[in-house]
Structure formats: structure tokens, C-alpha cells
Amino acid sequence: MRTDTSKAMRLIKAGLLGGALAMAMPASADAAADGGQDSPFKLQGFLTVVGGQVLSGSLDRPLVTFPNVDDKYHCPCYIADFANAGVYTKHLSFGPESHAGAQIDYTMLPYLTLTAQAIVRGNYPTPDLQWAYLDYKFDSHWNVHAGRQRIPLYYYSDFQDIGLAYPWISPPPEVYGWEATNYNGVSVRYHGLMGDISTSASIYGGDEVVHNDRFTRLLFSFDTTVKWHQIVGGNVEFNEGPWTLRSNIIHTKVTWNGPNSYDGGNWNQLTFQKMLAYGVTLNYDADSWFVLSEWDKQIRNNYVGGYTEKSPVWTLGGGMRFGPWTPFVNYSHYGDHYTYANLSNYPQTVYPNGGWSATLRYDIGSTSAVKVQYDSYWDQSLGSVFSGDAKVLRVSFDHVF
């Protein structure tokens, strides 16, 4: 049975190195206890190791069915992370979702901080720069970030890599995982209190270019360059007691460019789209039990091909806490509708998929957790299904330092 435990070991070593570096740096807490100055540097990080295997599935063919493709992903398979082409097959693997990250914050002035975060992934050992921005604090309510940041597309988007922060092994792939996850630009942020209601909001704008895009590698046999440009978005979140309510909206232009199209055409712009996405999250956390819910919709007007793609997605889950144990059950759904502007008589094509997951989490102290998750995924895309049905078992270890 072929496994890739070497990838897991590489990530564990990266996490241990980061932890050692963190301990070597002057700790702000120690400095405070001595009555001295806090260190201007803070080094923190996170580690997630995930091992997974498809137990059974409905397909027996490569994921990408175009001619001359490599057989890297042979189904039965399960796409757990669309943004990073994290695919599990019938062989136990640790590469698709394992990752380690380190973040450094340097406080240059009381109101000016530089933050940088880099991540290495099981299948992509070269560090990715996730964050690299200046934080300017106007006052206790307003601040601005300028530089490279994570796109807060949906609720879990900007902390999707922090496994300790949520009950699943990873946020549902029916909702999460698109071509771009970061942008270079500016965000203006607010947080404050209105009575007992805690409020936070942000507006942001910028651009992103991704070479050798991992998401489109799931669709094509060749590498593509993806651009999200003229990104404009915003979100607002309210917290009161056990309730959390968040809404989000984003508009961007999207282009995919490849060396050649799969059908041998001469043009190299595979697609040009205008994308609008919006959604709402409603969570209730009564401490001993909690409910997580989210609904989002993407509308992409595709000017190459003349069609509109509408993708409503949602997820609903509930869990209970028994000391360090947290069982959690979740259902997620992805709907995809294509409408062809120049083919009014052509029926809508629909590509629904979704699945149940059952997760058991055990907290080891306050900085680590182990999770076991079983997924039952269905794929009812019309015509040729994409990845097919799959039943999957995964185990993860999360740690922050």
C-alpha cells in the first residue's frame, strides 16, 4: 500500500522548528512580568497533519478525463481542498491537506505593525506567502492593512488553515476552495461595541495573479494563470452572547489563461468572467452545544462561451462538547446552474454535489487537537460526473504555538 508519510514528517519538522524559534525569541509575557518592555517581535505558528484515504467510490478513471492527461488523481477520489488541489485516493496519503505555517508580527511603532505569514503544504513544500502587510491603527476602532492578505470570501476563508479554530478536519469543500485565496491590496477595518453587540466590518480591494493555479489543475491537463482583478468586497459581523451573524459580498473580474485550450484552439484566454459572490453566516454557541450554518452564492457571467454560472452553496452542522470531546455532524451542498445566453432553447445544466460528515474531536490541552472524520460524498453532476461518489476516512492533528 503506497503512502506518503515523508510529507507528514516534513511538516512535523517544520512545525517543531517554528516552535523552537518561538521559544528562542524573547517572550512578551516574561518581559511584562519583569516589568520590562514587551518584545516588538512575536513569532507564532500552526501545524496540521492530515492522513486520509478513500474507502470506496463510484468511479474508476482519472479525475481529469481530457486526452493526454497524467493519471495523478485516479478516482475513486475525494477533493478535500479545491484551492490547493488536495485530492485523496484509495491510497493512504498525508499530502493533500497537511500544512504548517509561521507568522511574525513586528511592532515598529505603537500604531504600526508589520505582519508576515508563510505556509508550506504537503503537496507543495515551497513556502507560500499568505500575508505580508502593514497594519496602521488609527484608534481603538479603526485600522487599515496594506499589502498581501487573505481574501475573506466566506466566513472561514481567512482562517481556513487554522484547524484548531473549527470542528471539522477542514471547512466543507462544497463551499470552500476557489482559484484565488489571497490578494494584494488595502483593507479598512472597524471593530467596536454597540451595547452588548460586538461589531466588526471591513471593506477591501486589490488584485491577485496565480501562476500554475492549483484549482484549475483539477480541470485541465495543463498549467494556467488565474487573475482576480479589480477585487472589491466587504463584510460585517455581529456577535451577541451565543449568536454570530455575518454577511459578505465581493465582486471581481476573473481570467484564466493557458498555453492552449484543451480542444486545440489558438486563443489562450480560456475564460473571462465577472464574478459576484455574497452570503450570510449564522452560528449559535451555547458552550455545551453549538450550531454552524452558512449560505453563499456565486454568480459568474462568462464572456467566453456566453453563459452564466450560478453556484448556491450551503452548510449546516451541529456539535456538542463533553469536556475535551466534541462530536460534530454536518451536511453541505453545492449547486451549479449554467444558463446559455445564446442558446435560449438549451436546457440549464446542473452539477449538484454534497455530503454528510461526522467528526470526533479530542482536545489535547489547549493548543492541540486530534480529529477523526468520516465523509459520505455524492456527485450527481449531469452527464459526466466530476469526481464521483466517495466515502472517506481522515485523521488529523492540529497544533498552534
Binding site: K42, D161, L164, R189
Partner: protein
Amino acid sequence: MGALAVASVCWGAANAGDYVVVVSAKSPVDKLTGEQVTQIFLGKTESFPSGGNAVPIDQAESSPVRGDFDSKTLGKSTAQVKAYWSKIVFTGKGHPPKEVASSADVKGLVSGNPSYIGYIEKSAIDSSVKVVFSE
């Protein structure tokens, strides 16, 4: 004698987590609700309700009062608090309160700065600090 020893151990254990939330004796802050203390310690506000900066001082997880403060006042286990701050830290939205090792260290900081707020064991109360909340 054996029964007394057992009783004293139980009494000691029951009181290990008794704590109060304090500010400097020179602070203009008088009283806070549990919700207001929670908002300060979870970074939802940087100000006292009556005005002025509010800088929370936490105790290390090894402290006997830390677990009780998290569960009774913040309403979360220490693991849940850590998960909450992980989300905040790694999305650039803030940092957890500075941590010190003991109630003595909390008093050392709080008594010297009217902006600081911390929690200490009831037995550690003295004239350098003022109690603004107790469970």
C-alpha cells in the same frame, strides 16, 4: 484526624479557583459586569465602559485561577479560548492578552497602571488594587 485532613484538602481545592477581577486602586473604574469583563478579555473592546483604555492581563494556563476565570467569567474552556484567539491571531485581527505567571505578577502590573485589568485570587487582595467584579 484522617477525616480532617481530607476535609482540609477538599476545602483547599474548592477555594483554589476563587478569584476577583481587579484594577488599580487609583483607577476611576468602579464596577463592571461579567459581560463587560468578557468583552475586554476577548478583545471586543479596548476601552472601559466609562472611558479610558482597558488593557487585560491574563494568567498562564499553569495558574490555578486561569481555568476558573475562563469557564466561569468568559464562559469557555481554556481550549475554546485558545481556539478563539487562534482564529483572531492568524487572521491579523488582534492578539490575546499578555500573560503573567501568578496573581502577584498581575498585582505588580495592575497596581501601577490605571489602564490595566486582571484577575487574582481573593486571598491576594490588598490596598494596591480595587475589585470591580466577582463571581
